[in-house]
Every structure is written in C-alpha cells, then in structure tokens.
C-alpha cells in the first residue's frame, strides 16, 4: 500500500515549488519595465529549476511511496485536504516542467515584445498550476490545478498567438473543458463511492464495483483523452499549437498534453483496474490509429507547426499504447516517451520559434535551403528531427522501442501496426527537414538569415543534451520510476476483481 511519506527537509519543498512561481507572478505585477520583467521571470524560473536539485537528490527511488509529502486540512466539510507528494513517476514530470519553463522564458526573450509582464505572469502561473497537477494527491486539489491551468494557457494562445488565435484559443479551452467537467462528475462520484474522500492514496485502495468502474473510467477518459490528445479528440491540438506563441507551444506540447497520460497512470489505472482492462482493447486500437493517423496528417501539412502538432498526436499514440499495454515495459516506456516527447517536441517548437522570429512565416514552403545560412540551427534541427524519428542513441528510440516491446508482449498485432508508424515518422520528419533546410534558397528573405544566437543556443543546449543522455543512459530515468511503476502494477493486480490480466513483467511469458 502506498503511503505518504512526510517531508523531512525542514522546509516545504513541494509547496515551495508550487508557490514560488506564483510569488514571482505577484512580484511581476509591480514591475512595469519589460526587460526587468523578463529577468525577474527568468530568475524565478531558474530558482524553481534549482529546487529540482534537492528534490531529485533527496528522492528515494527504492521505495514506491509518495515522498516530500505535505498534508493539511483545507475544506474539512468535504474532507478535502491540501495533500501533495511525489513518487517516481511524478517527480520526473515536475523536473521536466521546471526545465521547459526556463526554456520557454528564454525563447520568449525577444519574441514577445507586447505586454511582456503579463506574458511572464501567465507563464509563471501556468508553471505553478502544472507542478500542482503533478504533485496533487487529493482529487479536488488536482482538479483545481488541472482547470486553473486553462486560464493562463488560454491567454497565452489568445493574446500572444498567431492570426487565427481566437478560434484556436476557444477551441482549446472548450475541448478541454468539456472533457474535464465530465471528469469532475466522476471525481465527485468517486468521492461518494469511496466513502467521502478525495484522498488519492485512499481511493487507490478502495475497490469499486465493476459497473461503477466502467462509467467512472469513461468519464476520466474523456478528460485525459482530450488532453493527450487521443484520436479522435485531437483536432484542438494542431490549431492550438499553430497559433500559440513559441513558449506556449513548448509548454503545451512539452508538458500539458502529458497531463492526460499522467492522469491515466495516476488515477485511471489504480482506481479502476477492471475497467482499464476492459477498455484496453479499445484504447489500444485508438492508440494505434492515432499513431498512423497522426503520421498521415503530418504528411498533409504545409505549416511547420501543424506538422509537428500532428507528429505529437502520433507520438502520444505511442504513449497511450505503452501505458495500456499494462506491463512494466510498456508503462515505463510510455512514461519515458512522455519525457522524451517533452524534450524533443519542446525542442522542435523552440526551433520553429527561433526561425519564426526571424522570418514571421510558418509555411514550410517559405523556407528551403536555410542550412547553408544557418548551420548551427540546421544542426540543432537535425538532431531534434532524428530524436523525433527515434534514432537509436537518441531518447526517442528508447521510448518507442520499450513501448513497442510492451505492446508486443501485450498483444503482437498492436506493436506490428504501430511499428509502421516508425516508417511514416521518418518519412514526414525527413521530408520536413528536407523542405526546410535543404535545397536552394528559394525565398529571398532567407538570404540574410541570422544563425542562432547565444541565448537561443543556451536554451537549446539542455534539450540536446537530454536527447543523448536519455538515449544513451535511459536507466537514469527508468531507475527513478522502477519502483513506482512496479508498485502501480502490483496495486492494479491486487485490486483486480477478475483474474489479473496485467502482467507484472515477462515472468509469466518467458519463465516457462
């Protein structure tokens, strides 16, 4: 049984991580100067990143329990507590969030000239909400953060976005909201069914009856599937990505859409194991469809960001495929792939942002041949392209391979079809790279393109480093999550009312 290990650091680390950006945002309200606002925001985001250090160093990956726990009564009448903690799964996302926020701020340095202060405020609030989502151990608290994040994101897209930003922002907001409110209903229903508690750990131990599970799972699914986004709930994503400013895209692709998959892991599986197993075939099929469909969509795009957005659909298809393989390999692969996708797609959007800032066009056709002008940029884009393609020795490969392994162990046909996505992935990414970087310069505007400057390189470098670090030593990430994921599987198995369909590992398959 999972426990909440109370924080023993002497200071409330996780709360600090939630509220430091909020404090930064408040401070920003008193800063009128745009440059000062940038530096302040950067300072706060770096401080937040710095907080990851004690978090990671003091984290004990050998126990599955929630750590750095804090718990206070919040709304006693409803038995709602401010209860937070991290385990081996969420800690990784917290770290990713803080990193990508720093990078987002750095790429917005000159790109955002209008209402800088508000932009930074929105970004910091967003960071706080996202960290909150990942550390919440109370469903109500979780939902608060989950929804609160909509506000800054809506503004980021709507205020600082591209020409069609209004449509995109509203579409993003409504799509997500519709899914979320259904989850809200399910959360309340869970509250009553589990004996008036929102405590995630307590609910994990509660066995719901099967019919209830089926319905509640569907409601949670609505929220998470939209967020992931799974086919066919994905159409908000391309629009949102295309219109969002670079920082918004990075956060959106890098972290926000991970929250959906995280939700599956943290809530759907341990709460409703029977339903999860029952729904698995459908979800696996949707995942496979998403992989192929997303890839196909990417082929049809003429817009740089839209192409990447659809590639996200495809990649997130891998993530859900891995998670619902419901075995160790699939789950860990899925989690790793989420991190990878955060890094790679974050970097891809960074790349788009860098070039967009110079050319103000996202049409692939407006580029071509820029490799000759901007070699550093071209190299960066190349590395990220191959990371996205899943070249072995980059992070993308580890994720995709372990997911395919998990899926293969689950049911071969899914892995076989999903593998086709790898071919398509190489196709559209390389075609994209070719159209952008290769060939002769066709657009005279690109003749005097400036290469990446120091700031941009500094923003890109950590991502590039992560591409290879994870690619060559993924155990750094796997090591952190092992215990938690194994525990998750045990938990699910223990709770299953029907025969355990979740394979702990290969034991059952190989050990004959």
């Amino acid at each position: 049984m999972l426990e909440l290990k109370m924080n023993v650091l002497g200071f409330p680390l996780l709360s600090l991580m939630i509220f430091l950006p909020v404090a930064g945002a408040f401070l920003l309200l008193f800063i009128r100067n745009g440059a000062a606002a940038r530096w302040t925001a950067l300072a706060f985001s770096i401080a937040e990143l710095g907080l990851c250090l004690p978090l990671l160093l003091n984290f004990d990956s050998s126990i599955p329990h929630m750590q750095f726990g804090e718990s206070f009564s919040w709304i006693a009448a409803w038995n709602i507590n401010y209860r937070i903690g991290v385990d081996g799964i969420s800690i990784l996302f917290v770290a990713l969030t803080t990193l990508l926020t720093v990078i987002s701020i750095m790429v917005s340095w000159t790109a955002i000239q209008d209402r800088v202060r508000e932009f930074m405020v929105a970004l910091l609030f967003l960071e706080a909400a996202i960290v909150g989502v990942f550390v919440s151990l109370d469903l109500f608290l979780f939902y608060i953060f989950w929804e609160a994040m909509l506000i800054p994101m809506y503004l980021l897209i709507g205020v600082w976005g591209g020409p069609n930003r209004l449509y995109a922002a509203v579409k993003f907001f409504l799509y997500t909201l519709v899914g979320s409110v259904l989850m809200l209903i399910a959360i309340i229903a869970v509250y009553f069914a589990a004996g008036h508690t929102f405590d995630v750990l307590a609910i994990m131990n509660y066995k719901f009856d099967r019919a209830f599970q089926m319905v509640a799972f569907a409601a949670f699914f609505a929220a998470f599937a939209v967020k992931v986004p799974m086919f066919p709930f994905h159409t908000w994503l391309p629009d949102a990505h295309v219109e969002a400013p670079t920082a918004g895209s990075i956060i959106l692709a890098g972290i926000l859409i991970k929250m959906g998959a995280y939700g599956f892991l943290r809530f759907s599986l341990p709460f409703f194991p029977d339903a999860a197993v029952a729904w698995t075939p459908a979800i696996m099929v949707l995942s496979v469809v998403a992989i192929l469909y997303g890839a196909y969509m990417a082929f049809a795009q003429t817009d740089f960001k839209k192409l990447i957005a659809y590639s996200s659909v495809s990649h997130m298809g891998f993530v859900t495929l891995g998670i619902f393989a419901l075995n160790l390999q699939g789950l860990e692969g899925g989690i790793l792939q989420m991190l990878n996708h955060g890094v790679s797609t974050g970097a891809l959007f960074l790349a788009v942002g860098v070039i967009y800032e110079r050319t103000h066009t996202r049409l692939i056709a407006d580029y071509g041949g820029i490799a000759a002008r901007v070699p550093v940029y071209a190299t960066f884009l190349l590395i990220i392209t191959f990371s996205s393609i899943g070249l072995p020795s980059t992070n993308g490969f580890i994720g995709e391979f372990t997911i395919l392994l998990g899926a293969f162990l689950h049911k071969k046909v899914y892995a076989v079809i999903a593998s086709l996505g790898i071919i398509l992935g190489a196709g559209y990414m390389l075609w994209l790279y070719q159209r952008v970087a290769f060939g002769k310069i066709t657009n005279p505007h690109n003749e005097h393109l400036a290469d990446m400057n120091l700031r941009e390189v500094a923003a890109a470098l950590p991502l590039v480093a992560l591409v290879f670090i994870v690619g060559l030593y993924p155990n750094a990430a796997f090591g952190v999550m092992h215990t938690s994921v194994s525990n998750l599987i045990q938990q699910v198995n223990a709770k299953m009312q029907s025969a355990p369909a979740v394979a702990q590992a290969l034991g059952t398959i190989i050990g004959k």
Binding site: I75, A76, A148, G158, A169, V181, I188, F192
Partner: protein, 484 residues
Amino acid sequence: MPSLYQQFLQSIKPVLPEAIIVAFALLVLIFDFFVEKKRKNILGWFGFAGVLAAAYASYHLMGLNGQFFGETLQLDPFSTFFKFVFYIACGLGILLSINYLKVEDINRGEYYALMLLATSGMMLMASAADLIVLYLGLELMALSIYILAGIMRRDNRSNEAAIKYLVLGAFSSGIMLYGMSLLYGITGTTNLSLILAFLRAADLTNPVVFLAMTMLVVSFGFKVAAAPFHMWVPDVYEGAPTSVTAFMSAGPKVAGFAVFLRVFLYALEPLRAHSTVIIAGLAVLTMAVGNIMALSQTNIKRMLAYSSIAHAGYALVGLAAGGPDGAASVMLYVCIYALMNMGAFGVVIMLRKAGERGEEIADYAGLGKTNRTAAFLMLIFMFSLTGIPPLAGFVGKFYIFKSAIQAGLVWLAIVGVLFSAISAYFYLRVIMVMYMKEPADGIELSVSPSLALALAFSVTAVIVIGVYPTDLLNYARASIAGIL
C-alpha cells in the same frame, strides 16, 4: 421595570435589522429634501452606513432564534445567512450606484431609499414564517424594484423595462396568490410550520396540493428567473439602469431562492417526490435557455442577463438535490453568484459614461491594453462565472453538482457541467474581446472610490472564497443545519 425605550427595544429586537434598514430608508427620504442635487452621493453613503449598521445588528442577533410576532416571523441561521447576502447585494448595489447615478443623471435620494426598502423586503422574505409575510415581503421588494427599473424616466428602455417587469411581476404574483389561497384552503393555515405539519399527515395525492405547489413554482421561478418564466429577464436587465440591474441580478434572485428553499425544502417537504422532478426539469430548461441564448448576445447586459438565468439553473440543480447539502449548496452558490455577478456589473458600469453607453461587448475591445485593471477584474469575474478554479464560481458549482450526485441526480449534474462548459464560450468572448482585439480608440473609464471599493471587495471575495471556501462553506452548512 424596564423603561419604555427598553421595552420597545426588546420587542423590536427580532426585526431590528429590518427596522434599521427601513429607518435609514425613511431618513434618506427625509434628508433628500435637504441635500442639494450635486451632493446626493452623501445619501448613498448614508444608505451604505445603514446596511453596515443592519449587518452589525444581524451579527449581534445571530444567537436569537425562533418564531416571533405571532409566528409570522422566523429568526434562524438560515434567514441570517440570507440577510448577509442581501447586505452584500445592497451594499455593493449602493456603491456601484453612487457615481453611476450622476452619469445617468438620475441622482436622487429616492433611489437609495427604494433600494433599502427592497432589501428590507428581501430580508422579510428570508425570515418569513407565514405565507402572508412572504407575500408582502415579496411585493415590497418587487414594487421597489419596478420603480427602480423605471427610474430613468425619460429613457424609453427604462420605461419599457419597468412596465414589462411590473405587468409580468404582477401576473406572477397573481398566480402565486392563487396558489397560496389553495394551499391555505387545504391546510387551513398560512403558517409554514403548520403547513408542514399538516402535509406530513395529509393525503398527498390530492391534485389541488399539486396545483398549489405548481403555482408557487411558477411564481418563485419567475423571481429567480427560471425558464420558461425567465423571459422578462433580458429585457428588464437591459432596460434598467445598470446599477439596478446589478442589484436586481443579485438581490431578488437570492431572495427568490431563499423562499424557494424555505417553502419547498421545508414547508412543502412532503411533496419532494413531485417537486424534485419539476425543479430538475426547470433546472435543465433554465440552464439550456440561459447558456444557449447567451451565446449570440452582443449587449453585455443582455448577455449577463442570460448568464444569470443560467446560474439560476445551476442553483435549481442544488434545489432539486434537496436535503441539507442541497440547500447549503444553493446558499453557497447564490452568495458566490451575487459577489461575482455584481463585480461583473461593476466593470460594466465603469464603461458607462456620459454620451456613451458602453454596453456592447464590442465596446470592450482592447480594454486589456487601455485599462489593465478593469480588464483583469472582468477576466477574474468571467472565469469565475464560468466556474474555473481556483475562483469562487468553481466552488459554488462544485458544491451544487456534488449535492446533485449525492442525491442521485447524476444525470442532472452531467447536464449541468456540459452547459457550464458551453457557457465558457460566451464568457471567454468577453475576455477575448478585451485582450485579443485592438482598442478602437481610447476608452476612458468612469472610476470612483465607491466603485473601486465595490470591485475590490468582490474580486477579493471571489478569489479568497475560491482558494479558501472552508469558512463560508461551513457557515452555509451550519445555517441550514437543524432547519431541514
């Protein structure tokens, strides 16, 4: 032997808050003769002081419970809770009005007096223990507001709003009265407790009981703006002076819910089996009409009118859920609703200045650039009305849907949240216009200390309740405990 004065005080004690309000209203009427036109503001502040005084009195009388004055008046935590909401509505209403009246050139003392009298009517409604008091309180409130709605005498829209409200209001109170007469005929009493006692033992299949109940649903539904009895709302909200609209959207609606709760969850409790179905149906219709119709509005007052219809729908969900939690959820909800809605109207009032109505949503274009504070406030209120955490609106809706699910009305909760998701569209549109459209030309706002005070109060409340609802929640729950 206590002095006459003490005796008087002792006897008036149960209605002291109402008496204070009425006294201040009368004083305002009298002072009106002596205050020159330019300085009528003073009357506003005086009325505001009256509200504060009444609130203080209510606070002190919180321990005084029971039925008074021949069982016509009930003092209990329930009524006290609502009185505080009315103080908020009235206090904010007055603060919103002070500068606005000058702009509209309707700066008159009677305005504040009527507002206070309307408030006293609401307070009597909330503490009515007898159908007669209920009826009279309601009429006192309604009549005052008819006049307030038409107070812009030379404005056609204001006239029209007043006559529409009056005729329909009278029509609905005619229906209510008929319903009450039937109820009286069946139960032989107009006292709510006695009605409850009678109905507990009575044959509930009696169709006349049903008829009476239905007629009360119609008239209370009219007051809270439930569809299909809502149609006056957009027209009246649009035509009435904005400050009155703000007050109207909070006060009478909340009062309507007070009597709804008192009558349907208390006096007519034995009829719950039927009333729940009816109220749930009304809730769905109301949410649908409010949210859908709001989508295509271009006038922000009309939009907020439909939004207030929609919110009545959510509150009706809580009412349909019933029980202590259902009632508490309605109470919490209307309280939060009053705060955020009046805040939103406060921003609308800010945009009104001489020669410019500032009522079209398009008028808000670029407000995020030209006036960050106003835009930010509107943003908070809009998100809160949408029900996005961590703002108060979410807490309210959460409790409502929680109660509904607890009562087994899961389908109703699902319908509710879906409509609430739709509502995001029209609230977001305001934000969109403010932040994502370029300003046409410089927008100057009419800001005044009173308005600033009102907005500061409501925005603080919306955020604080959103983040830490515990106390208010506990208060609402405690207020209903022991009554249902």
